[in-house]
C-alpha cells in the first residue's frame, strides 16, 4: 500500500513538473523569451538628423543643434546643497542680477519636490553646460536633445516656419518650408540592438542588429541671402519710418519663378515661436488676401492690349468726369479728370475712369478669362505651407459695377504672391511661372533639382513689351518719380487700396503697394512691396514706392547693373 502511495506521489510530482514546464515553455514562452532578450540585449534608438536648409550660396539658414536639458535628483541632494545649488545655477541662467532671486526660487521649488527626478532647465547650449559642469555639483545631470539653429537669427522666420513638437513629443515642422517639406526634412529614425554583458556593455562577439537611420534631406533654396538681408533691413526701417501696421515684400526672378527674397514684418523668432502670438506664424505673402488697388491696372490694361481692344494711344471718351454706374459715381483718386486721355496716360495718372473704360471694352467674359489665366482664384503652388487662394466670384454673380471697380483693383481679393506672379508674366514676355522657394532637394546620394515650370502663356510677347513701356512711363512720369533711382529703366505701378471695414471703405486705412521690375528691358527681378495701413501717408507712391526703389538701388549694385539713361 505504501509503495502504491509513493508511486502516486511521484506520478503527481512528475506531472506537476511537466505542467509547469509546459506553462513556461509553451504558454509563457513568448513573454519569457522577450524578458530574457530584454536582459540580454540593449536597444538604442538612433535619431535621424533633421535636414538642413541652405541659401542659394550654400550658406546655412537652418540646421540642427544639440541642446541639453538639466535635471536634478532631489533625493540625492541635501537641503543645504539645494539652496546653494539654486543660486549658483540661477547666476548662470540669468544675466539680469535683479532676477537671480526669482530664478533661484524657481529652481529651489523644483528641487524641493518629493520626486526622484525633476527637470530644471531645457534648451541649454554647450557653453552653459560647461559652466555648470565646472561647478562640480552632485545630484544633477544632463540629457541631450536636438533643437533647430538659425545662424541668421530671426531672419526669414515667415519663410522658414518653425520646428515644434508632434503629439508623441517628436520634432515636427510647422508653417513655411519646415511645414511644407516636413516629409523630406524629418528623415527616418533607426535603431541598434546588441548583446550586452552584466555591466550593460556591448559584447563584441555578440549579436548585432542595426537598422540605419536615414537623415532628413537638405534643401537648397533659391533665396539669395544678400537680397534677403537687404530686403529685411529696408523693410524694418520702412515699417518704422511710415508707421505702418505691417510690411511685406517679395522678390522673384520673372524668368524662372525663383523666389529670391521674401520677408514680412512684424515677425517672430522661430526658436522662441511659443513666445509670440500665433497670428504672427502665417506668412502674409502667401496667406493674407488684399485688394490690390491700382497695381491691378497693369494686368487689366495688358489684357485689353492683348485682345487688341485698345492701344497705348487709344483715347478714353468717358474720362472727362466721374463715371456714373449702377447708382455709383466712380472718381479718380485725386478727383482730377483728363478728357480724351490716352491709355498710356491712364496708367501714368492711375486714372480710375480710364480703367473703367478699358474694363468695359474688355467685357466680363474676357475679363474673367484673363483673371483665371493670370492665376487668380487658384493657388500659385508655391512650396510654402498655408497658402490661401481666395475664390474668384462666379461670372454670373458679377454686376456691371463689379467689373468697373475690379478694373482698377477694388472689390477683388488676391494674395501678394498671386500678384507678383501675374506681373512677372508681363516682365518675362507673357508667361505665367510657378513660384518656387526651393531649388534642390539633396540626400546623401542624390540631388533632385526643381526646374522652372511654365504654367501657360497669358499675353503675347509684343503685348508684354508694350505694357512694359507703359509701366516705365508710369514710373518716370507718375506720382513716385521723385523716388526713382536716376538712369535706370524701371517698370512699375503704385497702388493705394482702401480697406473694406464693416461694409464700406475706410478712406484712412489703406494697403499701399508698389509692384515693378527692373531693368525693364531684361528684368533680373520683379518685386512687390506692401504696407498695411501706413500712417505717415496713405499713398503707395509715398511709402511702398520709395521702399521699392531703395531695395532696387541695392540690387542694381549687387547685380552689377549700370544705369542706361
Amino acid at each position: 500500500m505504501r509503495i502504491y502511495l509513493i508511486k502516486i506521489f511521484f506520478l503527481i510530482f512528475f506531472f506537476s513538473i511537466l505542467a509547469r514546464l509546459f506553462y513556461w515553455q509553451v504558454v509563457k514562452a513568448d513573454f519569457l523569451q522577450a524578458k530574457g532578450e530584454n536582459q540580454h540585449f540593449k536597444d538604442t534608438a538612433v535619431e535621424a538628423e533633421r535636414g538642413k536648409i541652405f541659401f542659394s550660396d550654400k550658406a546655412i539658414l537652418a540646421t540642427s543643434n544639440p541642446s541639453f536639458s538639466l535635471y536634478g535628483l532631489p533625493k540625492v541632494i541635501t537641503q543645504e546643497e539645494k539652496l546653494k545649488m539654486s543660486y549658483l545655477l540661477a547666476k548662470i541662467f540669468v544675466d539680469d542680477s535683479s532676477q537671480i532671486d526669482a530664478e533661484a526660487k524657481n529652481i529651489l521649488n523644483s528641487l524641493q519636490q518629493d520626486l526622484y527626478w525633476v527637470p530644471i532647465k531645457k534648451g541649454l547650449d554647450q557653453k552653459t553646460k560647461k559652466k555648470i559642469e565646472d561647478l562640480n555639483l552632485i545630484g544633477i545631470g544632463f540629457n541631450t536633445a536636438s533643437g533647430r539653429f538659425y545662424p541668421e537669427g530671426s531672419s526669414s522666420a515667415h519663410l522658414l516656419g518653425f520646428v515644434g513638437s508632434d503629439a508623441k513629443g517628436g520634432q515636427k515642422g510647422y508653417f513655411g518650408l519646415e511645414g511644407f517639406y516636413e516629409g523630406e526634412l524629418k528623415g527616418m529614425p533607426g535603431f541598434l540592438r546588441h548583446e550586452k554583458d552584466a555591466l550593460g556593455l556591448p559584447i563584441l562577439i555578440g549579436k548585432f542588429l542595426t537598422n540605419k537611420a536615414n537623415n532628413g534631406k537638405d534643401l537648397v533654396l533659391n533665396i539669395d541671402r544678400s537680397i534677403q538681408f537687404t530686403v529685411e533691413e529696408v523693410l524694418k526701417q520702412g515699417l518704422e519710418k511710415y508707421g505702418a501696421k505691417a510690411v511685406s515684400a517679395v522678390v522673384m526672378d520673372p524668368k524662372t519663378g525663383a523666389i529670391l527674397a521674401l520677408a514680412s514684418f512684424p515677425s517672430y523668432d522661430p526658436i522662441k515661436y511659443f513666445s509670440f502670438s500665433s497670428d504672427y506664424y502665417k506668412n502674409p505673402i502667401v496667406a493674407d488676401t488684399y485688394e490690390p488697388g491700382s497695381t491691378f491696372k497693369v494686368l487689366v490694361m495688358a489684357a485689353a492690349l492683348n485682345e487688341e481692344l485698345v492701344e497705348p494711344d487709344t483715347t478714353c471718351d468717358i474720362c472727362n468726369g466721374p463715371v456714373q454706374l449702377g447708382g455709383f459715381a466712380i472718381r479718380t483718386w485725386n478727383n482730377k479728370y483728363y478728357p480724351d486721355t490716352t491709355m498710356k496716360d491712364v496708367i501714368i495718372h492711375s486714372d480710375n475712369t480710364g480703367m473703367v473704360f478699358t474694363g468695359m471694352k474688355l467685357g466680363l467674359d474676357k475679363f474673367h478669362e484673363y483673371l483665371e489665366n493670370y492665376g487668380f482664384g487658384e493657388p500659385s503652388d508655391i512650396d510654402l505651407q498655408d497658402e490661401s487662394s481666395p475664390d474668384l466670384r462666379p461670372k454670373d454673380e458679377w454686376r456691371e459695377i463689379d467689373l468697373a471697380t475690379a478694373s482698377f483693383g477694388q472689390g477683388i481679393a488676391i494674395t501678394p504672391i498671386q500678384m507678383v506672379r501675374a506681373v512677372a508674366s508681363i516682365a518675362n514676355g507673357g508667361y505665367l511661372m510657378e513660384p518656387h522657394v526651393v531649388r534642390e532637394i539633396k540626400d546623401e546620394k542624390n540631388t533632385f533639382e526643381i526646374k522652372p515650370k511654365m504654367i501657360r502663356q497669358v499675353i503675347k510677347e509684343n503685348t508684354a513689351k508694350i505694357m512694359t513701356e507703359m509701366m516705365v512711363k508710369a514710373v518716370d512720369e507718375g506720382e513716385a518719380k521723385w523716388a526713382k533711382p536716376k538712369g535706370f529703366k524701371i517698370a512699375g505701378k503704385t497702388g493705394t487700396a482702401q480697406i473694406p471695414v464693416a461694409g464700406h471703405y475706410d478712406p484712412n486705412k489703406t494697403i499701399a503697394s508698389f509692384v515693378g521690375f527692373a531693368p525693364a528691358d531684361d528684368p533680373k527681378f520683379v518685386m512687390l512691396v506692401l504696407y498695411n495701413q501706413p500712417s505717415s501717408s496713405i499713398f503707395g507712391s509715398e511709402t511702398a514706392a520709395p521702399t521699392f526703389f531703395e531695395i532696387a538701388k541695392e540690387l542694381f549694385v549687387y547685380y552689377k547693373i549700370a544705369p542706361t539713361e
Partner: protein, 111 residues
C-alpha cells in the same frame, strides 16, 4: 639424382620468412594523432578563453569609442554652427559697422 649432386649454395634453398609485429603496426599512427588532437583542443580552448576575455574587455573599449565618436560629432556640429554664426550676414553687418564701414551712398559709373 643429378639434382642431388649439384653444388649449389645452401642458402639458395632457404625460405625467408618476414616477421610481422602486429602490436607495433597498430600503435604508431593513433598515438600521433591523439597527441595532435589533444594539443589542438588545448590550444583552441586557451585561444577561445583568451579571445572571449579580450572581447569582453573590448566591449568597454567599444562603448568608450562610441561615446567618443558621439562627442566628437557633437563638437563638430557645434563648431560648424559657430562658423555659420560667424559667417552670417547679420554678424558681418554688425562687425563691419563697428569697424567703420558704411553703405555706399553715391556710385560713379565709368563708361
Amino acid at each position: 639424382m643429378a639434382l642431388l649432386l649439384c653444388n649449389c649454395p645452401k642458402t639458395s634453398f632457404m625460405t625467408i620468412i618476414k616477421k610481422f609485429d602486429p602490436e607495433e603496426y597498430s600503435n604508431k599512427f593513433p598515438k600521433k594523432y591523439v597527441v595532435f588532437a589533444v594539443v589542438g583542443i588545448l590550444v583552441l580552448s586557451i585561444a577561445q578563453i583568451w579571445v572571449n576575455n579580450t572581447a569582453v574587455s573590448y566591449g568597454e573599449k567599444l562603448e568608450s569609442i562610441a561615446k567618443l565618436k558621439s562627442t566628437l560629432e557633437m563638437e563638430n556640429t557645434f563648431l560648424e554652427n559657430e562658423m555659420a554664426s560667424e559667417l552670417s550676414l547679420t554678424n558681418i553687418a554688425t562687425k563691419s559697422s563697428k569697424l567703420g564701414f558704411s553703405k555706399i551712398e553715391s556710385i560713379q559709373y565709368i563708361r
